[in-house]
Amino acid sequence: MDMEIKNDFSSELVIPISYGSSEVIETGKWGFEKPETAFMTAPCQEVCPAGNAIPRFLYLAGEERYEEALETILKENPFPGVCGRVCFHPCEKDCHRGQYDEVVSINTMERYVFDVTSDHHPDIHPMSTLSSKQVAVVGSGPAGLSAAYFLGLLGYQVTLFEARKELGGVMRWGIPEYRLPKSILTKEIKRILQLSIDVKKGVRMGKEISFEELDQFDAVFLSPGAGLNLPLGIEGEDLKKVWRGRDLLDQLNSGDKIRIGKEIIVIGGGNTAMDVARSALRLGSKVTVAYRRTRGEMPAIQDEIREAEEEGVRFEFLIQPIKIRLLKNRRVRVKFQQMRIRGRDQSNRPKAIPIKGEYLTLEADGLITAVGEGVDLSWIPGTLSKNNLIDVSSSLTTPYPKIFAGGDAIDQPRTIVTAIASGKRAAISIDLHLRGWLYDDVFSKIRVGNKGALSMEAYLSGRNGGNWSEPKDTISYPQLNTFFFEHSKRIEMRKLDRNKVLKGFSEVNLGFTSDEARKASSRCFSCGTCNYCHNCYFFCPEGAISLDPLHQTKTVDLDHCKGCGTCAKVCPRYVVLMKELS
């Protein structure tokens, strides 16, 4: 045995002291198991349609490495500033911390990462060699811009067609300034356009360019959005005092001076209804929202409903308008049918049915309808459409081989983040199509959990060789070792002073201070992701683990790891797993 031991028996020491190292003893040979670092998918990440690497960006934010946090988000989502403000954030609903105390403020942290890095201009450039293939993107909403962004990253030459004079689609025209300031959107678009995307503004499909002319491209992504106001289909809805919700928001977002009356009724329960109701408050009106189901069935984001209530919007539930009349005093009188909930409709939502003979009449100075939006399909061949939407497969292909579609024009939830997700999915589909690979095989490898999200980072990792590693499993709550966590309160962001809220269209939510952001991000359990908490390092009885958070490496000295499994037991986030040696 090659160990240096002091063998001086004449010395007073009379005990063995090794001044060499005991490393020569390869205790690692004694073990039957070895630890493996196996990252897992967190539930927040799985449920995020964009598959955002949430634990990772929160870890970086917790370390105040905000530029890296931003770059992490940008791998999967080109709109952190927008999503950090208007996303319906399903991530928070599924946050494992919610089972422990209170969920992490993921949405506001995304916003903070964007806001705090406003001076940082990450270098956005293609991740692969440039392709000679040309791809057209029609529509510059969240789906179209995302598709253009990811196609640009994949090295394609993208031509982006936009009917309006400015880019952004629903993010620009459909969301009020107090929720999403235009300056934020402008900054995000500017970042995307670093990818030398050929932007053609003011080009309307079927007018300046025909559908057939898109044939010159190697592939086409259609994301025209859903910009048509759906009619109520009742008498009086064409009256001058009846506004269409999307048109009203469009005018407000265009900076038009608008005068609506003192008392306004809004019909509908979705996000557009909330946006117009709150906008009307800011124009000085008293607002009543009339919805045919109950509050529980309202499709709007819960936060929006709550904020509308707090700001003073009144709600009338279980009434459906059946007739609108203009009165002599220039007010409108709306006759409502009283409804009740009974059973469920085809989409499994509680169904509202009329209560025979029971009516309610309300009067107001004006009426705003917001009962849904439709897709303008007038310029698209009939074979591409189905149920007034563009007909797509799960890989977003259409019946036309090189045409793909996404966003609000296809059958999927109408949210910004699902539109972004469809842009990413379509970009990958187009790449696979142009390279002649099979969609499903690849999608099954690059999925983030089992709820539909795809990872562009995973896709890029295997794209060169056409080889992808197996997707990660999703971590369950019991797999966490919550012994190592301390209880703490969720951090809520500051809001604009109540007195100022209704005085204009200033942003209502104010985000975090740096201190709040640090606290909020450090509350993340980092489920399934190593955040260099050093537990494995501290508890390893052999001192066989070394960690380098800066270079994000964890090394296990396998020559000396006995496979005791302590590291796996003390890992709070189930990142270290013991694997039996064959």
Binding site: I5, K6, F9, I17, S18, Y19
Partner: protein
């Protein structure tokens, strides 16, 4: 200056007088008053050292070992289940050759549960490589602490002294407390080599090959053997400084004795009274008090018991399946002496049962009547 105090307090006094910088302990009845007394003195500033309140006896001993390796004097006190829990670390202390001093208050080992005097707790640790002393009273306990440091620090071996639960630990007697100056003169500041040296990092207790392990055990045995001589010399020096001493064994009225009572601890004290009665009755009975148990003073015992006819060893302990442990050791010590005496094992005082002078007289009379050897122990029960 004499004070009226318990054996526990006498031990605490000795630790204070020895200026022990590091005391690590965990409370356990009947040792707790030592722990409490030292804590009080720490709080009042009378104790210059640190009282480390560890979470277990195992940790207490580990702390003492580590502290001792940095070159300082250390102390701990325990009893019964505490010393049993410490067992593993006792081997480490001996193997690391640290002169830790420990007071063990002899208390029975569970089960069944109890708090009473019984020497099995410390005797169970006889093979751990510790020097062991058994003390008759509070004064001897105090003095033995002081002596134990001097012996342990010369031999690089840990030392424990045992005093029986309640009979010594809690009985109050007049105890002569030496002056600090005297103790300082007798026990100069410790000058151990610093075996934990941050300027020269090394790894203690490394894995060693078989031959090296054997070598270290052999060295320990050699050192332990020298303790008999060291202990006798230190006791002699103690007598010169303080005017009292104990010897490593103490023969009482042995010169003309045919029958010898052999015992240790507080029973020796009672035996002195019984001896007076027996002598008055004309019996040629003597007493041999065993004080040093590890190393076992074989040569001194052989010398002292030369020519004796019969021996009765009184053990307040039982190695179940064997017999009284002092008796086993004594028989082994005498096996090579010529015409060695008949040695009988009496078990008395187990579990704190009373061993009064009458019990000892009974044993003496009983052994005098015996003519044939008996291998098995003889239990003394109430009549």
């Amino acid at each position: 200056m004499k004070e009226f105090m318990t054996g526990n307090d006498a031990v605490a006094c000795a630790v204070r007088l020895c200026r022990t910088p590091l005391i690590a302990a965990y409370p356990i009845t009947p040792q707790t008053p030592i722990y409490e007394k030292l804590s009080e003195w720490e709080a009042s500033g009378e104790l210059k050292g640190i009282m480390m309140r560890t979470e277990s006896e195992h940790s207490a001993m580990a702390s003492c070992i580590a502290a001792s390796l940095t070159g300082v004097r250390t102390f701990t006190a325990t009893s019964s289940q505490g010393i049993a829990l410490m067992h593993e670390m006792l081997h480490f202390a001996a193997g690391c050759r640290v002169p830790v001093v420990m007071a063990n208050v002899n208390r029975l080992l569970a089960a069944p549960w109890g708090f009473w005097a019984d020497q099995l707790d410390s005797l169970s640790q006889r093979d751990t490589g510790w020097i062991q002393f058994y003390c008759e009273n509070g004064q001897e306990s105090l003095d033995t602490v002081i002596q134990a440091y001097k012996i342990a620090e010369k031999a690089y071996l840990p030392a424990m002294l045992s005093l029986e639960a309640f009979f010594v630990s809690h009985f109050m007697e007049p105890v002569d407390i030496p002056d600090q100056e005297q103790v300082d003169r007798f026990l100069p500041p410790l000058d151990l080599p610093h075996r934990f040296d941050i300027d020269k990092p090394g790894y203690l207790v490394p894995v060693v090959p078989p031959e090296l392990y054997r070598k270290y055990k052999h060295m320990a045995q050699t050192s332990m053997n020298s303790v008999k001589e060291i202990a006798a010399r230190v006791d002699h020096e103690f007598r010169e400084e303080f005017g009292r001493g104990y010897g490593i064994i103490e023969p009482v009225l042995l010169d003309d004795a045919e029958t010898v009572l052999v015992t240790a601890g507080s029973i020796a004290s009672t035996a002195r009274v019984a001896l007076r009665v027996l002598r008055e009755q004309g019996h040629r009975v003597g007493l041999l008090k065993l004080r040093l148990f590890r190393p076992f003073p074989v040569e001194a015992i052989q010398q002292t018991l030369k020519g004796k006819k019969k021996i009765a060893v009184i053990d307040r302990n039982i190695s179940v399946g064997g017999g009284g442990i002092f008796c086993q050791e004594l028989r082994a010590a005498l096996v090579h002496s010529q015409d060695h005496p008949l040695t009988f094992s009496y078990i008395a005082g187990i579990g704190g049962t009373d061993v009064n002078p009458e019990v000892i007289e009974r044993i003496a009379l009983d052994v005098m009547e015996k003519t044939e050897p008996i291998d098995t122990p003889i239990w003394i029960m109430e009549e």
